[in-house]
Subunit: 444 residues, 3 copies
């Protein structure tokens, strides 16, 4: 439905729009490819993921050493894992990292010993209310280890001895993140940020990685005013690291979005920036109001993904968060049910289309001046308006009336689109027609 | 219902109010008299209409020559028509201008020849969804000719030869409009504008012409602060012409209304001025909130009647549009069903009353100062307040409390009426009582 | 219900909160004690009432002589009453002041004579729509006398002669009011005002007197920033008298509340101050939004109790009015049904708790600055945040995120509480934790 709406909308985007279908299948293929990798906030899984994205777009990989101070935080030791299991006396792996990487608490320290079920029990995590699902658990900043498993399985574990093994390392190393800058005509930037630290969770956030990657690819082929900076970082510590190393650069950020959980079947949810009425907020809300009747807009709150950092009061960047299902509020969230079936090519394509429409607003919004502001100009004379009275004006004719009436230097094209209830693309087309006939000029 | 509400309301209007019933019957008679005339944006039908109004009020008629530049437009050639018909081989008029002037596309160029149905067909206009009605069509700015007829009749026209005749002229001449100024104590003006160019359409806009004429007559007999300027113009080109010849004068316009479709049985619809919160907007909305529970208020949009010109950004005058049925949104609109049965004396009278109430607000709104602002003054001592406790205060007593409490120079009487939920007339009466007892004075 | 909610809420109030149950039973006992006294706007009933309150709190009694000018008013003669009755020919008291003091119109001048029912009838007041109840009537400023009785009884009075006696005096004397100042660390004041002039009416306003008295007692034992001034005055004339004698002092008033009808079983109604967005308005609305889901907020209007005087435009003090049932809008209002059963210990205790929560907001609201404003500080490191990822943050953890994100000097703790939807007490606790860890400081 997002797809259909996005598609309908894209008819108005004019010249830059390729007729090619949005690359839903290709994005889903990328999600499938990345899904098995065991990512974390540091380590080789994260590196491998960024390397894969770097195959599609020019991605610069940064390595920040363990121990580096980043504002109030410190880059932690690097975590890597090769294998993990719990074996029963018969030597069978009753819990097996190789079958699903969610089985191990992310950042578990190494362990290898035999223990009773009673000893093991405090290290086992499950979801009693969703007994079939493996939960996702982490312990980044407190040394610990553990396993996650379906509650049904946990309840049936025989009371016997077990061989417990986590073959991991937690050592000085690096925190890795990736960055791709698609330069535009100006140094003003649009920031797109995705967390890239989750292991086998498809919607959260391989969907974001895939959509961002394809957007970067697509934008590189279009003329554009803004530079688009794509940042793929481990959640929290990665965004904090990026901000601490790029304080100067943040001055160029005009608009920004965190993308997450953007590939499932739900309608969109947009979480506003801390400012609440930034241009990005208005642009996204406008596009969603036409493209997705079921969408929701929620105010900023200081809990969520990396908008927390971008919108901390010392930065207060105009960065919102675009999702479909709202993180933390759907039963599949942070479980093994956030899998390859949970995200669809259609939903990924709808997100892609929607974001292109948002960028179209950001690129082309502006203030114009009606050059014949006293009474209406005679549009019919110029072939811009149906000559025979009786039937009402066409949509673009109506849009010309709106643009002429409100282009007094106060209202931008987006303001006019909102006030008229028309899609931005139609208003923009009307403005272009009027400009071509010397009835409108960009305000300076 | 509008009538009843307006009547109830008028009880509070105090001294200026005549006890005579609002002249509903007389207005309807004027509509009936004007209905048969074939008006257009130029020509003798328009002249004849203005001459008739000039019989009731001092109307100055202006003639503007063809070819005159008015902003981006040019005054067109003058159109006049004597007769028009389509005759079948038997010599019978199957379509006859004399039976209904809507049968001819307004501004049709002359034609006289025989043709087949196939040749005639592109010149015939009908409404398939309302097959009994004759549509109203015009072709002012593109030379063309045509006939309008019920769809049912169109479908039954025999496939034969027809004699087609439009005995019209389109020649250099003049555009005519009328103006009536009812001077007040000040040069500040209230503008009332009606389009006067439609042929046999009763609600759109003989209703506006009739109500405006009777208002002009009525106001001339009342003391008044504002000067009231009534402008009767052909739609669009007429308003543009008037504005182009009166740019200086527009500086005096404090409030204005376009009146149209004001005589049918529906509740009122008020379309706000472009400013959205002008005094006229607040006054009309206040009066309607008490007089017509079913009324609607809609925001300004740059499509409609001549508010489009008055509210173009180069003028941005505080001019709203008062209607009952919203133009373009009712099935009788621009068809032969907008006839003498569609408008009623009651509805015309209700519009008349409502507009007098609006003018009452405009005339008497103002800022006052409570002269005893610390605690309440003792109204009972002055005979202004019921002496025995127990039952609540009367409406005017309550209004005195509101006026005293909020007359701090910030809130006007209209503000207080809105805030208290009381009719302006009651608040005004309370203010007058308080002023008489030296408890209130006009702010300077 | 108010009680339960208030109780739940009070768990967060921290150090100042006593664990003792709110003194509902004791307040109800005080109401019972005061109920039989025949109060008026002057006289011994009022004096006796203030003397009783002075037994619990240090109350200063003021006596203002008859004839004193107080703004636009004059202190009236003092009224006292010993007895009143209507006797039938058999000498039986068919109406007897000793059975209920509402039987006499308050401020009745003395009368003693025999008269027919027809002569007596204009002096009898009843409520045809509530035939079992005795109404409450006054005639302070117009010399008059009368009796009030149930309509059922009135209808059955035999048509015979009656001995009518009102043994009252109306003579030069004094108007009495009481004042209790609970001094705080600053001279900034919170004003609590209750009218104390009604005879046997329990909710209106013995409930206000009882709650205010117990609040004064409670506050005296707590550390506090504000000074709390409790004013017990006859309605209207008493508040006007107090204001006329304390104009200078009103400059210290930062917040204020009129308390009335606060002991019945209904949800709270808060009537805003004339300013509409004063700190007291925001504080009360915040507390009620968490404590009483059924509460209502109504805008200021210049009719009601003494907020009319405090909010007259020459003072415009930030004084709202807290009620349960809205005066004038419940059937028991100003009748014998406003009795000791109509108020409950639970409701009085709920009002007490709610007001303490409001004072807690007033005392502790303030602006803070995040001392680590770039990105989030690492709360987990400081033991302020749960270390194991997976489950969501606790309420106080979430509150810390809100306080950190919005403590930029613009938003106060109450603003943050409102924006986050969290109770003020939780936000205040979060701020205290952050301040203790040097992450937050009071803005100067």
């Amino acid at each position: 439905m997002g797809r259909a709406a996005g598609g309908a909308h894209s008819r108005h985007r004019g010249a830059e729009v390729t007729d090619a279908p949005a690359p839903g299948a290709a994005m889903h293929a990328l999600v499938r490819e990345l899904y098995p990798i065991c990512r974390s906030i540091t380590g080789d899984g994260l590196r491998q993921t960024l390397a894969r994205l770097g195959g599609d777009i020019p991605l610069v990989r940064h390595e920040v050493p363990t121990g580096t101070r980043v504002f109030d935080w410190t880059v932690p030791r690097e975590w890597n894992i090769r294998d993990a299991y719990v074996k029963n006396p018969a030597g069978e792996r009753v819990i097996d990292f190789r079958r699903h990487n969610l089985h191990v608490v992310n950042y578990s320290v190494p362990v290898h010993r035999t223990m009773t079920l009673a000893e093991l029990r405090p290290h086992l995590h499950s979801l009693p209310d969703r007994p079939e699902l493996i939960p996702y658990r982490t312990s980044y900043y407190k040394e610990s280890w553990g396993f996650c498993l379906p509650h049904r399985q946990l309840e049936q574990l025989p009371d016997t001895g077990y061989e417990v093994c986590i073959d991991s390392t937690l050592e000085d190393g690096h925190l890795t993140y990736g960055e791709c800058l698609v330069e535009g005509r100006t140094q003003e930037e649009v920031l797109i940020s995705c967390h890239a630290c989750h292991p086998s969770l498809a919607d959260d956030n391989l969907s974001g990685l895939a959509v961002a990657t394809f957007l970067a690819q697509h934008l590189a082929k279009q003329p554009r005013r803004y530079s688009y900076r794509f940042v793929f970082v481990p959640g929290t510590i990665g965004a904090i690291t990026w901000l601490s190393r790029n304080e100067e650069l943040t001055r160029n950020i005009r608009h920004g979005l965190v993308l997450t959980c953007i590939g499932d079947r739900a309608s969109f949810t947009y979480k506003r920036s801390r400012r609440g009425n930034a241009a990005i907020d208005r642009a996204v809300e406008h596009v969603l109001s036409h493209a997705d009747p079921g969408h929701k807009v929620v105010p900023f709150s200081p809990y969520g993904y990396d908008e927390r950092q971008y919108c901390s009061p010392g930065f207060n960047l105009p960065v919102g968060c675009l999702m479909r299902s709202h993180h933390g509020q759907f039963p599949q969230y942070h479980t093994s049910a956030d899998n390859l079936d949970f995200v669809t090519p259609q939903a990924l394509a709808g997100a892609f289309d929607t974001l292109l429409s948002v960028f179209d607003v950001l690129e082309h919004d502006g203030h114009y001046l009606n050059l014949k502001p006293r009474c209406e100009p005679q549009l019919g004379q110029r072939g811009l308006y149906g000559a025979t009275g009786g039937s009402g004006p066409k949509q673009v004719e109506m849009a010309m009336l709106w643009v002429l009436n409100f282009s007094d230097g106060e209202a931008s094209l987006l303001d006019i689109a909102q006030r008229s209830g028309m899609p931005f693309a139609v208003v923009r087309e009307a403005a272009a027609l009027l400009e071509r006939h010397d009835l409108l000029a960009r305000a300076t």
